[in-house]
C-alpha cells in the first residue's frame, strides 16, 4: 500500500481545498459570531465553542474572493494551532478523502495571487484537483497589515 494521507475537504467558491485530518479538531455548522472591530477583515469574529473562545477566519476573504451571499451561512472548520483552536469559515464541507502521496505536486507556477501563498501544493485526484491549505499562513495577516500591526506596541 502506498503512502496515503487523510484530508478533510471543503469548498470555497469554485475551489476544492483540504486540510490534513490530524489538524482538524471538528467541523461545526454556522455559529453566531461576535465581531471584533479594528482587526483585519479576514477575522469575522469570535465564536463560543463550548466555553472556549475561538477566532473565526473567513477563507473567502483570505483568498480575496467576493463575500458569500448573505443568505448562505458558512461552515466552521476548527483547526488546531499552536495558539489554540481557530475556525476557518468555508462554503461547504466535503468528504474526508484518503489521498495517495504519489499524486502530490508542488503549487503550480501558474497559480497566482494570494492563493499561491496560501497553498502548500496540489493533489491530483481522479475527478478534480485538491489544494492543500497552509493553515499557518492562512492565519497570518497579509504582509502589509502585519507590518502595520507590528508597529503598534
Amino acid at each position: 500500500m502506498a503512502n496515503t494521507q487523510q484530508f478533510c475537504t471543503f469548498f470555497l467558491k469554485d475551489e476544492f481545498l483540504g486540510v490534513p485530518v490530524q489538524q482538524v479538531q471538528e467541523v461545526i455548522r454556522y455559529q453566531e459570531m461576535t465581531r471584533v472591530p479594528l482587526v483585519p477583515e479576514i477575522i469575522r469574529g469570535l465564536i463560543n465553542l463550548r466555553g472556549q473562545i475561538v477566532m473565526a477566519v473567513d477563507l473567502r476573504r483570505r483568498f480575496a474572493m467576493a463575500d458569500r451571499p448573505a443568505n448562505e451561512l458558512p461552515m466552521n472548520v476548527v483547526v488546531r494551532t499552536d495558539d489554540g483552536p481557530v475556525s476557518f469559515l468555508v462554503d461547504e464541507i466535503g468528504d474526508v478523502l484518503e489521498v495517495d502521496e504519489e499524486s502530490f505536486e508542488p503549487t503550480p507556477e501558474t497559480l497566482r495571487g494570494r492563493a499561491r501563498a496560501l497553498v502548500r501544493g496540489v493533489y491530483k485526484l481522479p475527478e478534480r484537483l485538491m489544494l492543500v491549505l497552509d493553515t499557518e499562513r492562512a492565519l497570518r495577516p497579509e504582509a502589509e497589515s502585519a507590518g502595520a500591526a507590528g508597529g503598534a506596541k
Binding site: 461576535t34 465581531r35 472591530p37 463560543n48 472556549q52 473562545i53 497589515s145 502595520a148 503598534a152 506596541k153
Partner: protein, 889 residues
C-alpha cells in the same frame, strides 16, 4: 505513611524552615540580643538534624550537628554573634538546602565534601570568645532588657537560661517529636521585638501547635483545577440567572437567586484559597540583599511594609522573579558605597524599602532605595552608544522618557558586568513579565535621593467584575478596576453639557473638563484607515457643515453679481460639496437615520429654490427673486438644523451615557450607547492575532452564551490619544511645575488664547479649572475690583491684557466675557481673555529670556512664538496676590 511520604513531608517542611532561617539570621545579625530569633533558629536546625538522623541522611546530620552546637553556644551566651559566624551559618544553610535539593531530585544527599564547612563551624564554636560579655555590649546594647523580658513573660525563670530545658515537653507541638528548648518564644515575642517594626520577623512563629493541626497542604494543581471549574460555574450561573430573569415561576426564580448567591460565596472562597501574602516571596529578600550588599561592599538595610497584602498564587509566582531582580538591582545599582554615601552626607547604610498595599482593586508594590537615583545623562549616552536611540531623539526626550529607556531590551548601564547585573537582560524582562499579567511598571527617580519602582498588579487573573456596555449593537466588558463613575445625560442636559474644544468633545464634570471618547467612533475606524494614520472622516459633521457654509458664501457672491454661475450649475443638488457628501458617504452610511433622508430632501429643495431665484433674477423679476431668496435663507438654516439632528442621532447625543474611566493617572469619559450592568466575568485570553490590537484585554462569554470583548482601557485611551507621555509626566512626576522644567523640552497640553491687541498666549492646561462665558452685564464691582457671581461665590476677575500692561482689551469686545477660571486652595480667580483659540499638546522649549512678571517665558507653539502665562504671577501683577491666599477654614 510510606517512607517516601515521610521524606516528602520532611522536604516540604524543611524548605519552608530554611527560607525562614535566612531571614532570621539576618535579623539576628542586626539584633544579636534577640533571644527569640536565636531560639527559633536553634529549634529549626535541631529539627532538621533530628529528622535527618532518623531518615539516615548522615551527611545532612553531620553538618546540622556542628551547626547546632555552634548555635547552642550562641544561645547560652558563651559566644557572641560575629559577621563571620553569620556567614558560616548562612553557608551551612546553603549546604543544607543543596542536600535537600539533591534528596528531592534523586533521594540521596549527593556526593559532597562538607569537611571544610564542618571544620569552620567547629572552629568557630571553639574560638574562645576573647571576653564573653564585652563584644556583646557594643553589638547589642539591649541584651539585658531583652533577657529581662523573657522571665517577665514566662514566669519565674528570672535571669537564668538553662532551666529552659525543663520546658521542653510542652514544646513538642512542632510536627517532629523532638525536644525543643526555648519554650517561651511565642508568648515573649511582642516584648522582645526589636524597635523597628520587625518586618523581618517571620509571619508565623514556629511554635504554632494549634495552627499546624488545622491546616493541610494542597497541591496547587488541584487548586488550579478548582479555579477553572469555578470559572465554568460562574458562567453557568450567569446564564441561569439570565434565563430565569424572564420567568414567572417564583420558585425557580428563588432557586436561581440562591444559586447566584451561593456561587458568589463559593467563588470568593475558592479565590481565597489561592491567596497568599506577598510576604511569602519577600521573606527571601533580606538574605538576597545581604548577599548582594556584601558582594559589592555596601551596607544595606531592608524594610518592608504591608507584607500581609494578599495576591493570587499565580500572580505571586509571576512577580517573584521580577521582584527579585528589582531588589538586586536596587542594591547593586541604586545604593552607593558607604564612602560615597558618607561624602554625600547620608547614612553610610543604605535603605531599601518594599511597600505593598491595595488600591482600587489592584495591588501596588513599590521598591524604593535611597541611593543616588538614576543618572539620566548616563542613560542617554548609553542608549545612544547602544544605538537604541539617536542623539537627536535623546536630545528631545523628557526626563521621564529617559528613565523609561532602562526598560528597553539590551540596555544596561553597569560599568562592569557583575554576577548580579550588567548583562543587559533584566529591566525589559521585568516589564514584559509584569505586563504579561496585566500589571504596569514605572520608575521615578530623584537625583541624589534614590529611585522608586512602582508596580500595579491585578489581584487575580481569572474572574473579574466588569461593567457591560453596548455600542452599535455589540456588548463590551470594561474591567471595574478602571471604572470611576457613570454619568447619564438626557435631552437638554445632553445638548448643553457636551462642549467642544477645537472639535474635541469634552464634558464638564464637576467643574473639570473631561475629554470624551466615543466608543463607536474609536471602533468604527477600520484597521486600514488607522494604520495609515488617516482617521475615519465619515463622522466629521463639522467639516460637512463647513462645506455647506462655504457654498452658501459662494451663492451669496453669485446673487450679488460678483460671481458667475448658471442657474443649472447652482441648481444642481448633486454637484455641490454637501450634495457630494450626501450621495457618496451620507446616505450610504446613515441610511438608517430618517433625518438623513430629510436632509437629502431639504437640500434638494434648497437647490431648486436657488435655481428659481437665479432664473427670476435673469428675467429681471427682482421683487419675486427677493421673496424667494428669503425662503432660500430659511432652507439653508433648515439644512444646518437637520444636519445637526442627524449628527445628534448618529452620536446619540440626545441621551448620552458616559462611563468615566481612569487610565494611568488620567480620566476620560467613554461615550457608549447603553450601560447594561455589572457582572462577574471570566477572562479568556485572545489569540495572538487579536492581541496585537491593544484595544482588547481579552474576551468573555456572556449569560446568553455569546462572546463579548473586554476593553483594554489603557489601550483605548492611547488609541484615542487621551493619554500621552506628557500628561502622564505632569501628573506622576510629583514635580510641582511640570510646565516650567528648566531643562527644556517636554510635551505639554496648553490652552491658547488671545488677549489685548491680538496678542497670543498659552497657559498650562493643568492650571485651567474651567472655561466660562459671562454676559458683560453680570460683572459687578467689589473692593475696586471686577467680580462676578460664580457658583454661589464671588469670583474676582483679572483682565489679562491690563495685567500685562497691554492697555485695555481689544476693540472687538463683545457682549460676553471669556473667562479662564483658575483655582488654588479653594479660591478661584477668573482671567478675562479675548478669545479661546485652541488646546494643543506639543513639545516645546521654554525660553526664559522673555520672562517677566506674569510670563514664564516663551516657546514656539504651533509654529508661532507664544508667551506662556504664569497665572499666580499674573494675578500678583494685577495686585491680587491676596486673592489666592488660602481660604480661612
Amino acid at each position: 505513611m510510606s517512607d517516601e511520604e515521610i521524606v516528602k513531608e520532611f522536604l516540604v517542611e524543611s524548605h519552608e524552615n530554611l527560607d525562614r532561617l535566612d531571614q532570621e539570621l539576618i535579623s539576628l545579625e542586626k539584633n544579636p540580643g534577640d533571644r527569640d530569633t536565636l531560639a527559633s533558629i536553634f529549634r529549626t536546625i535541631h529539627t532538621i538534624k533530628g529528622t535527618s538522623g532518623f531518615l539516615a541522611f548522615n551527611q545532612l546530620e553531620a553538618v546540622t550537628h556542628v551547626g547546632e552546637n555552634l548555635l547552642s553556644r550562641l544561645r547560652d551566651g558563651s559566644l557572641a554573634l560575629t559577621p563571620e559566624i553569620t556567614t558560616a551559618l548562612l553557608t551551612m544553610i546553603d549546604a543544607v538546602r543543596q542536600m535537600l535539593g539533591s534528596i528531592e531530585a534523586n533521594g540521596t544527599e549527593g556526593e559532597r565534601d562538607d569537611q571544610q564547612l564542618i571544620a569552620t563551624l567547629a572552629r568557630l564554636q571553639q574560638s574562645e570568645p576573647s571576653a564573653p560579655a564585652p563584644p556583646r555590649t557594643p553589638l547589642a546594647p539591649a541584651p539585658e532588657p531583652a533577657r529581662a523580658a523573657i522571665p517577665a513573660a514566662s514566669g519565674s525563670k528570672a535571669g537564668t537560661l538553662p532551666p529552659e530545658e525543663s520546658k521542653a515537653p510542652e514544646e513538642a507541638a512542632v510536627e517532629t517529636p523532638v525536644p525543643l528548648p526555648a519554650a517561651e518564644s511565642r508568648p515573649v515575642e511582642p516584648a522582645a521585638k526589636p524597635p523597628e517594626p520587625a518586618d523581618v520577623h517571620p509571619g508565623q512563629q514556629p511554635g504554632r501547635g494549634a495552627i499546624s493541626d488545622s491546616t493541610i497542604r494542597v497541591d496547587v494543581g488541584q487548586l488550579d483545577k478548582l479555579m477553572n471549574r469555578m470559572g465554568e460555574l460562574v458562567l453557568l450561573r450567569n446564564q441561569i440567572v439570565q434565563y430565569t430573569s424572564q420567568t414567572e415561576d417564583s420558585a425557580l426564580l428563588g432557586t436561581s437567586q440562591r444559586l447566584n448567591l451561593l456561587t458568589t460565596e463559593l467563588q470568593e472562597g475558592v479565590m481565597k484559597t489561592r491567596m497568599q501574602p506577598i510576604g511569602n516571596i519577600w521573606s527571601k529578600f533580606p538574605r538576597t540583599v545581604r548577599d548582594v550588599a556584601v558582594g559589592c561592599g555596601k551596607q544595606v538595610r531592608i524594610e518592608m511594609e504591608g507584607k500581609e497584602t494578599e495576591l493570587d498564587k499565580t500572580i505571586i509566582e509571576a512577580i517573584k522573579d521580577p521582584l527579585t531582580h528589582l531588589v538586586r538591582n536596587s542594591v547593586d545599582h541604586g545604593i552607593e558605597s558607604p564612602e560615597v554615601r558618607r561624602s554625600a552626607g547620608k547614612n553610610p547604610e543604605g535603605l531599601l524599602t518594599l511597600r505593598a498595599f491595595h488600591e482600587g482593586g489592584q495591588v501596588n508594590i513599590e521598591i524604593t532605595d535611597d541611593g543616588g537615583g538614576l543618572d539620566l545623562e548616563k542613560i542617554r549616552n548609553k542608549a545612544i552608544q547602544k544605538a537604541l536611540i539617536t542623539a537627536d531623539q535623546a536630545a528631545r526626550m523628557t526626563d521621564r522618557e529617559v528613565t523609561h529607556l532602562i526598560f528597553l531590551p539590551g540596555f544596561s548601564t553597569a560599568e562592569k558586568v557583575t554576577s548580579v547585573s550588567g548583562r543587559g537582560v533584566g529591566m525589559d524582562v521585568v516589564r514584559t513579565n509584569i505586563e504579561k499579567i496585566g500589571g504596569t511598571v514605572d520608575v521615578r527617580t530623584r537625583p541624589g535621593h534614590g529611585s522608586t519602582v512602582h508596580m500595579k498588579i491585578p489581584l487575580t487573573l481569572a474572574i473579574i467584575p466588569a461593567l457591560i456596555v453596548t455600542t452599535a449593537g455589540d456588548r463590551y466588558a470594561i474591567p471595574q478596576v478602571s471604572l470611576l463613575e457613570l454619568v447619564r445625560l438626557e435631552g437638554e442636559q445632553a445638548r448643553k453639557g457636551m462642549e467642544r474644544v477645537n472639535g474635541a468633545p469634552v464634558y464638564r464634570l464637576r467643574g473639570r473638563l473631561l475629554p470624551l471618547v466615543y466608543l463607536k467612533r474609536e471602533l468604527q475606524a477600520d484597521g486600514k484607515a488607522s494604520a495609515n494614520g488617516a482617521p475615519a472622516t465619515q463622522l466629521d459633521f463639522s467639516s460637512v457643515r463647513d462645506k455647506h457654509r462655504q457654498w452658501s458664501k459662494t451663492l451669496q457672491k453669485v446673487l450679488e453679481g460678483k460671481l458667475e454661475m448658471t442657474p443649472d450649475q447652482a441648481g444642481s443638488h448633486q454637484t455641490c460639496a454637501l450634495g457630494q457628501w450626501i450621495y457618496t458617504t451620507g446616505l450610504a452610511t446613515f441610511a438608517e437615520y430618517p433625518d438623513m433622508h430629510l436632509l437629502e430632501e431639504t437640500h434638494r429643495r434648497f437647490h431648486e429654490r436657488v435655481y428659481r431665484v437665479l432664473n427670476l433674477k435673469r428675467k429681471g423679476a427682482s421683487a419675486e427673486a427677493v421673496q424667494e431668496l428669503e425662503s432660500v435663507g430659511h432652507d439653508s438654516e433648515r439644512i444646518m438644523q437637520v444636519l445637526t439632528s442627524v449628527e445628534r442621532r448618529v452620536l446619540d447625543l440626545d441621551n448620552v451615557n458616559i462611563v468615566v474611566l481612569r487610565a494611568d493617572d488620567r480620566q476620560f469619559g467613554l461615550v457608549v450607547d447603553e450601560i447594561n450592568d455589572t457582572e462577574e466575568i471570566v477572562v479568556k485570553p485572545l489569540s495572538k492575532q487579536l492581541k496585537i490590537i491593544n484595544t482588547y484585554a481579552g474576551a468573555t462569554i456572556m449569560g446568553d452564551g455569546k462572546v463579548a470583548l473586554i476593553l483594554d482601557v489603557m489601550g483605548l485611551a492611547q488609541r484615542a490619544n487621551v493619554i500621552s507621555e506628557a500628561r502622564a509626566h505632569a501628573v506622576a512626576d510629583g514635580d510641582e511645575k511640570p510646565s516650567s522644567s528648566a531643562d527644556g523640552q517636554q510635551r505639554n497640553a496648553v490652552l491658547l488664547f488671545e488677549y489685548g491687541d491680538r496678542g497670543r498666549m498659552a497657559v498650562n492646561l493643568a492650571q485651567v479649572a474651567r472655561l466660562e462665558e459671562f454676559p458683560r452685564d453680570t460683572v459687578e464691582v467689589a473692593a475696586d475690583r471686577e467680580v462676578v457671581q460664580y457658583r454661589g461665590r464671588i469670583m474676582p476677575l483679572v483682565r489679562v491684557s491690563s495685567a500685562l500692561g497691554q492697555g485695555s482689551e481689544s476693540a472687538a469686545s463683545r457682549d460676553s466675557l471669556h473667562v479662564v477660571v483658575y483655582s488654588d486652595h479653594g479660591r478661584s480667580v477668573g482671567l478675562v481673555v479675548d478669545r479661546i483659540l485652541d488646546i494643543v499638546e506639543e513639545s516645546f522649549v521654554l525660553d526664559r529670556q522673555s520672562s517677566r512678571q506674569g510670563v514664564l517665558g516663551s516657546a514656539v507653539i504651533q509654529k508661532r512664538v507664544t508667551d506662556i502665562l504664569d497665572v499666580p504671577g499674573l494675578i500678583a501683577a494685577a495686585g491680587g496676590s491676596h486673592l489666592l491666599s488660602p481660604q480661612p477654614a
